[in-house]
């Protein structure tokens, strides 16, 4: 085995400590019966019971999940279509321009996206609530899906399409039985990315959500402002664990994809 320098490990340890300590701290006190983020008294699941018996909160969790799944699914479909469209653009300059427009949406600050959506929805007369949140989530997820799918598409040998046509496949069959199966791992990856982006989006949602509709991150924020209750810790812990699950799912999928198409591929 290759020996790594000990200071490399120490550095890594410090970085992870800095990043994870607040989360672990928060999770730790979610089991505190003392009701505050200091002086751990005894272990309790009281705050989790609080969370689970809070109907309003469960409703919000449901909203969040529905928004995430719906927006991720729609964004995946749109993103794949978008990636295919960009792939088939012949002129390199047009292609780069489209890609740049796509990437700008990813790097531009959420606050600006949120504010501009608020403006758009107000002008267009769309009522703030479920629809506006869904639309904005779809909008910021599409570029992510495009970014996940396009490289895989570029990696695909164009003779693969020729071969399918040569063997009798019409345009639709080429897409459904060659291109989409080839892209499947990256499509799933795009879907999971869109899902996590939607789940933990705060800024955009904060702008476009109206009265009576809320998602988890917005709810946690407003509760945290009202005062300290450890049920927020419990909720955050649950959310964190759920996100971890998604990350693991994404990892497993991309590993599988790597085994299927990457390793052992031609040259």
């Amino acid at each position: 085995m290759k020996r790594t320098h000990w200071w490399g490990r120490v550095y890594l340890l410090i970085v992870f400590a800095v990043m994870y300590t607040p989360i672990v701290y928060l999770m730790y006190y979610s089991f505190n019966s003392g009701g505050a983020m200091h002086d751990f008294q005894s272990f309790t699941l009281e705050w989790y019971r609080d969370v689970l018996s809070d109907d309003r909160l469960l409703m919000i969790v449901l909203n969040t999940l529905v928004i995430a799944l719906l927006s991720a699914a729609i964004a995946t479909i749109l993103g794949v279509i978008g990636a295919l469209a960009i792939y088939y653009v012949k002129r390199q300059r047009t292609k780069n321009a489209l890609l740049a427009l796509n990437n700008v949406l990813i790097v531009s600050p959420d606050v600006i996206i949120g504010a501009s959506f608020l403006l758009l929805f107000t002008v267009a007369g769309i009522k703030l609530g479920f629809t506006s949140v869904l639309l904005s989530h779809i909008a910021f997820s599409v570029p992510i899906v495009v970014l996940m799918v396009l490289p895989k598409l570029e990696e695909m040998s164009p003779t693969l399409i020729d071969a399918a046509r040569d063997l009798g496949a019409g345009p639709w069959q080429v897409l459904s039985s060659v291109v989409l199966p080839f892209l499947a791992p990256s499509i799933w990856a795009g879907f999971f990315m869109a899902l996590t982006y939607s789940l933990d989006d705060f800024a955009v949602t904060f702008f476009v959500t109206g009265n009576g509709f809320s998602t988890l991150s917005v709810e946690i924020y407003s509760r945290a402002r009202q005062g300290i209750s450890l049920s927020i810790n419990a909720l955050s812990t649950l959310l964190f664990l759920f996100t971890m699950l998604l990350v693991i799912g994404y990892y497993v999928l991309s590993q599988k994809g790597g085994r299927m198409y990457g390793i052992g591929g031609r040259k």
Binding site: D162, A164, R165, L167, G168, A169, G170, P181, G264
Partner: protein
């Protein structure tokens, strides 16, 4: 040609963004023969293949398939299948499903598909590999899968786009035999694209030599090798000594300042010509007995023969393949039969070639 015509090109031109890759090409091909399109890269040979497959359309001219123009027949409706240079196997399908792809598109019954696929795999000696993933197959095996995938559809014409170029030398030689054998057993037309002249000579019934989007010569391997029509073909088809000369009269040619008896005729008196003598037709003799005397410049041992390179007194370079050894710096004579001399017309419009 006396066989049944299957493909005909009539004055076909193909341009990409104003670049002419195929320049006013006309030819016909018979059913059941092995054709090779031979030429350097960029000569237009792959373009011809893609035109036949239907991936591209000619800029001008007409392509006939069984006497009917096929311009507006899309590739999926043509009785033609292709073996691609990179094999283009579908990575998400196993060997069986790759071969079955075309049959599934045709909505064939499952039992028939199973039978045809295993037949095709047996044809290419890949029985028992049905459930292998493409990634687990070696280069030679992938090659065979690609061939099986094409022939299972029972095409009338099989197009092969440099299918052997990714294989190592030993496997390539083996596959040459196998492909030739396969073509005989199937009895369909093979159109094989390559830039390797040995491959072309070994496998084909007929060879088209292409350069710069034009057909330079068409003929059997022997015709092409023995009677190259111009400097380009002579040079491309094998190592040769090409010299400028003058045709004095029928059966008499002059080069390197000397006159030689030859077997060619039909040239104008004193017409400038190019003369080809293959290096294996030159015999090493004592300087006094030689028709040409050269000073040996370099010597390479090639296994079967020595490759000797030398210069005559006029500074012409001579390449000799001989089983006899010569020393560098030594003066030797070269002898050749009148039959070894091949006289070609000098092409005015294409002198750069």
């Amino acid at each position: 040609m006396n066989g049944e015509e299957i493909i005909r090109f009539e004055r076909v031109t193909k341009e990409y963004d104003g670049m002419v890759v195929l320049d006013d090409v006309s030819f016909a091909m018979e059913r059941g023969k092995f054709y090779t399109l031979l030429g350097p890269s960029g000569c237009g040979k792959t373009t011809i293949l893609r035109l036949i497959a239907g991936f591209i359309e000619p800029t001008q001219g007409t392509i006939y398939f069984h006497g009917k123009p096929i311009h507006h027949v899309p590739p999926n409706k043509r009785q033609v299948n292709t073996v691609f240079q990179d094999y283009a196997l579908f990575p998400h399908l196993d060997v069986f499903e790759n071969v079955a792809f075309g049959l599934r598109i045709k909505k064939m019954k499952e039992a028939d598909i199973r039978q045809k696929v295993s037949e095709a795999l047996r044809f290419v000696n890949l029985e028992g590999y049905e459930r292998r993933r493409i990634q687990e197959m070696s280069g030679g095996q992938r090659q065979r899968v690609a061939i099986a995938r094409a022939i299972v559809n029972e095409p009338e014409v099989l197009l092969l786009d440099e299918p052997l170029s990714a294989l190592d030398l030993k496997l390539r030689t083996e596959m040459q035999y196998e492909l030739r054998e396969l073509q005989r057993r199937l009895g369909i037309t093979f159109i094989f694209v390559t830039h390797d002249q040995e491959e072309a000579l070994a496998m084909s019934d007929y060879i088209f030599v292409l350069n710069k989007g034009k057909i330079q010569q068409f003929g059997t391997p022997k015709e092409i090798y023995d009677e190259p029509i111009n400097r380009f073909v002579a040079d491309f088809i094998g190592e040769s000594n090409i010299l400028s000369g003058r045709m004095i009269e029928d059966f008499l040619v002059e080069f390197t300042g000397k006159r030689f008896e030859c077997v060619d005729r039909g040239f104008a008196p004193n017409e400038p010509v190019d003369v080809v003598i293959r290096p294996e037709d030159l015999e090493l003799v004592a300087p006094g007995d030689g028709q040409i005397v050269i000073r040996v410049d370099s010597l390479l041992f090639r296994g079967v023969h020595y490759e000797i390179c030398g210069y005559d007194e006029n500074g012409n370079e001579w390449l000799v393949h001989s089983t006899k050894k010569a020393e560098v710096g030594e003066t030797v004579g070269l002898r050749f039969e009148p039959e070894a001399i091949h006289v070609m017309r000098v092409e005015r419009e294409d002198e750069g070639a």
